[in-house]
């Protein structure tokens, strides 16, 4: 077999992981370019880059759907989970390697479908939320959205089945549950969420295509249907989905922070059993906070305001654990650590700005404005992407066996850090002042033109910073200096095998000693 076949047809978890990474970064590039086009369009009142509002709506649709479904979820539960989990638990591979390869190729099929958006005559323009009745009467191709979701969702479910089985049954001898890396816990939790909730999303989007193409009437009030069923099903998945993103990314940040502070994770059990379990427990009962302005019954809006606010408790635990891990640490500041520290600050902003949104009565003004857009970009697009980028930098030596350029890495970080704060802070500001989202043109809000121009400038800055990181990786993988097995001096299991890890990961499957712990630095 020649090398490229060994890559394409691979069933090895590390290579499958790398395939995930390549696919999801490509998706990020495409969706990022959509963002830049949108920003360009918004630099002036009236048509700027395109005459046709529909074109803008297609960009926005592709941006949202691809960023979430094609970039973050696959990067976190595809790439990181695949690459790290077997190594962290001391397994030779996942439980079902062929199923794993199936997941990654289904993911690529999903990406192909999403990219076809730009080549078909009737691209979907239904936003990533695809609310009926618009999504059932538009001339856009709703079916492609449905199938993108179904295929990516199916890939995700298979991944979940695979990894839950792997973690449950394939841990190295002596690897007890309380010795698992935080990242492993986070990912397990994320997969549990995926298994429970993705099917609901799958059903929701299938029903829109049924309604649109097969003549059913789930969402058609004229024939006894109800438009709000869709929104309930959609958010019943899509709220937990934000924790499917949040949990693994905060897990990555934990690994980075513990390694670069060379410190024990603060209050491990609180983080796992309070934080992670708490988030899983609450995530299924807060979806109505996306339907505060849809006229749902008052009791359920008030009830879910309380549950939504209470989510700050388990999420707060994960933040305390993270900050506490710095206490009495021995911190150094290589690029991954900069990204990780960036995440702490940016996530604080993003998470705390979710609090006003959680309060029903405040949301009556804030919902569907740029304030919401600012909130979720801070928490997801910025904190999440920073965690992903930091994680790639962190495991880069292990994956490629080479080092990246530290200077370029730091430069990229600071540029994006500056850019994101310009863009997304301004968004929250104009949102509070009344700027609605999903606007191709804001002719009746001329007072925001200046702000929009600043944001476009900031977006260009973000693009430059991210592009620097990607270039850094490509150059580093090709001709960086050779990396040591454990360049950061980490205790975690994945750094004890050779770099890059061979097929089968270990010469002899490691046995875990009683006193070992992935974060046991002080005992050394």
């Amino acid at each position: 077999m020649n090398t490229w076949k060994e890559w394409i047809f691979t069933t090895d978890h590390k290579r499958v992981g790398v395939l995930y990474l390549i696919g999801s970064l490509a998706a990020f590039g495409v969706a990022g370019i959509m963002a830049l086009l949108m920003r360009w369009e918004l630099t002036s009142i009236g048509p700027t880059l395109t005459e046709n509002p529909s074109t803008y709506n297609v960009w926005l649709y592709a941006h949202g759907a691809v960023m979430i479904l094609g970039f973050q979820i696959p990067a976190l539960t595809g790439f990181f989970a695949n690459y790290c989990i077997p190594l962290m638990i001391g397994a030779k591979d996942v439980a079902f390697p062929r199923l794993n390869a199936f997941s990654v190729w289904l993911f690529y099929v999903g990406i192909v479908l999403a990219v076809l958006t730009f080549f078909i005559p009737d691209p979907p323009d239904i936003m990533w939320t695809a609310y009926p009745p618009y999504s059932t009467i538009t001339s856009g191709n709703t079916a492609f959205y449905t199938f993108t979701v179904l295929i990516l969702g199916f890939a995700s479910i298979l991944g979940g089945v695979n990894f839950l089985t792997t973690v449950a049954y394939m841990r190295a001898p002596g690897m007890s549950w309380n010795k698992l890396n935080i990242f492993v816990w986070c990912t397990v939790a994320a997969f549990v969420l995926q298994l429970i909730f993705v099917p609901v999303l799958g059903t929701a989007v299938t029903l829109i295509s049924f309604d649109k193409y097969l003549g059913t009437s789930f969402f058609d009030p004229a024939r006894g249907g109800d438009v709000l069923i869709y929104q309930n099903l959609f958010w019943f998945y899509s709220h937990p989905a934000v924790y499917v993103i949040f949990l693994p990314f905060i897990g990555v940040v934990y690994e980075i922070v513990a390694t670069f502070a060379r410190n024990r994770v603060f209050n491990y059990k609180m983080v796992v059993y309070g934080g992670i379990f708490g988030i899983v427990g609450l995530s299924g009962v807060v979806w109505v906070h996306h339907l505060y302005v849809t006229g749902m019954a008052d009791w359920i809006r008030i009830g879910q305001m309380v549950t939504t606010l209470l989510i700050s408790v388990p999420v707060g635990f994960t933040v305390i654990g993270l900050v506490g891990t710095l206490y009495k640490g021995a911190i150094s500041f290589e690029t991954p650590m900069l990204y990780a520290l960036g995440v702490i600050f940016l996530f604080l902003i993003g998470g705390l700005t979710g609090i006003p949104l959680a309060i029903t009565s405040l949301t009556l003004h804030l919902s569907d404005t740029y304030y919401v857009v600012g909130h979720f970009h801070y928490v997801m697009a910025v904190a999440g992407t920073f965690a992903i980028f930091g994680g790639v930098y962190y495991w880069f030596p292990k994956i490629t066996g080479r080092m990246y350029s530290e200077t370029m890495g730091k430069l990229g970080f600071w540029i994006t850090f500056a850019g994101t704060n310009v863009v997304f802070w301004i968004m929250m500001d104009i949102g509070v002042k009344g700027m609605p989202r999903r606007y191709f043109d804001y002719a009746h809000f001329p007072q925001f033109e200046n702000a929009h121009q600043w944001m476009t400038g900031g977006a260009a800055l973000i693009g430059v910073g991210f592009a620097l990181a990607v270039i850094n990786w490509i150059v580093g993988a090709a001709r960086g200096a050779k990396a040591a097995d454990n360049p950061w001096g980490s205790q975690s299991l994945e750094w004890t095998t050779q770099t890059p890890p061979p097929p089968g990961n270990w010469k002899d499957v490691p046995t875990i000693r009683e006193e070992w712990d992935p974060y046991a630095y002080a005992q050394r």
Partner: protein, 240 residues
């Protein structure tokens, strides 16, 4: 039921001006609560950020072989570090929830002496119908000093009637009736804009609320009503 009785009694007892005072204007309440919440979350955010920054500065690695020195928490400390933050956070959550709920009541319990207008939204216009049958498109004229309640539905996709100045929006959709109310106190103009993605021209779905002095409104209203009646007669004639 009991609530209605109470409201009726209260209305009967109060003079007109006193009743107006009793109306809790959600927009003002919104601004108050917003500032309260912003202060609350800023304190939390700044506290966490400062602690983080302090740790980062204080515990820098000084030589390459240094490792962290944090001890394992004792069982009591671990529980304490879980339970205390939990109660602090929960206390704050319930405080915010209670305040939010109070304001919510103001939003969801419209005052009895109000003017009630029907709204049907469509791609892409706001179509209002006054109690006397007068219709208006995109421009909603209302008297100053009287609460306005909209009963809303939609003939096609979902829209959201958003009046930033009054800090309120609510979706209108086919097959369901929703409501919102607001309290215009001074003459002036306020933008109405669509806040739910409803189709290609979503961003152009704009209208305005024009608040005029009560007397001016009454004159306009009577005149429109008369026009409507005349118009009706005329079409009848034309039909015959």
């Amino acid at each position: 039921m009991r609530k209605h009785l109470l409201a009726a009694c209260a209305a009967a007892a109060a003079t007109a001006s006193r009743a107006a005072e009793a109306i809790r204007d959600p927009a003002a309440g919104w601004d108050r609560l917003w500032h309260e919440v912003i202060i609350d979350i800023s304190i939390l955010g700044v506290a966490f950020a400062l602690i983080t920054a302090w740790f980062v500065l204080r515990y820098r690695r000084r030589n390459p072989n240094e490792v962290g020195r944090a001890e394992k928490l004792t069982a009591a400390a671990a529980v304490g570090w879980t339970v205390i933050p939990m109660f602090v956070f929960m206390a704050d959550d319930f405080f915010l929830a209670a305040n939010g709920w109070q304001l919510w009541n103001a939003y969801r319990q419209p005052p009895a002496e109000r003017i009630e207008i029907k709204l049907e939204s469509g791609m892409y216009s706001w179509d209002y119908t006054y109690p006397n049958g007068v219709k208006a498109q995109n421009v909603l004229k209302v008297p100053a000093g009287k609460p306005v309640l909209l009963r809303m539905t939609s003939r096609d996709t979902i829209h959201s009637h958003f009046i930033p100045d009054f800090r309120v929006k609510e979706d209108s959709m086919p097959g369901r009736v929703t409501f919102m109310w607001f309290y215009p106190q001074k003459p002036g103009e306020h933008i109405v804009t669509c806040a739910e993605y409803c189709g290609i021209m979503h961003s152009y779905m704009v209208g305005k609320v024009v608040v005029v002095p009560e007397a001016e409104f009454a004159a306009w209203y009577a005149q429109e009503e008369k026009k409507l009646a005349d118009g009706g007669r005329q079409t009848k004639k034309a039909g015959a």
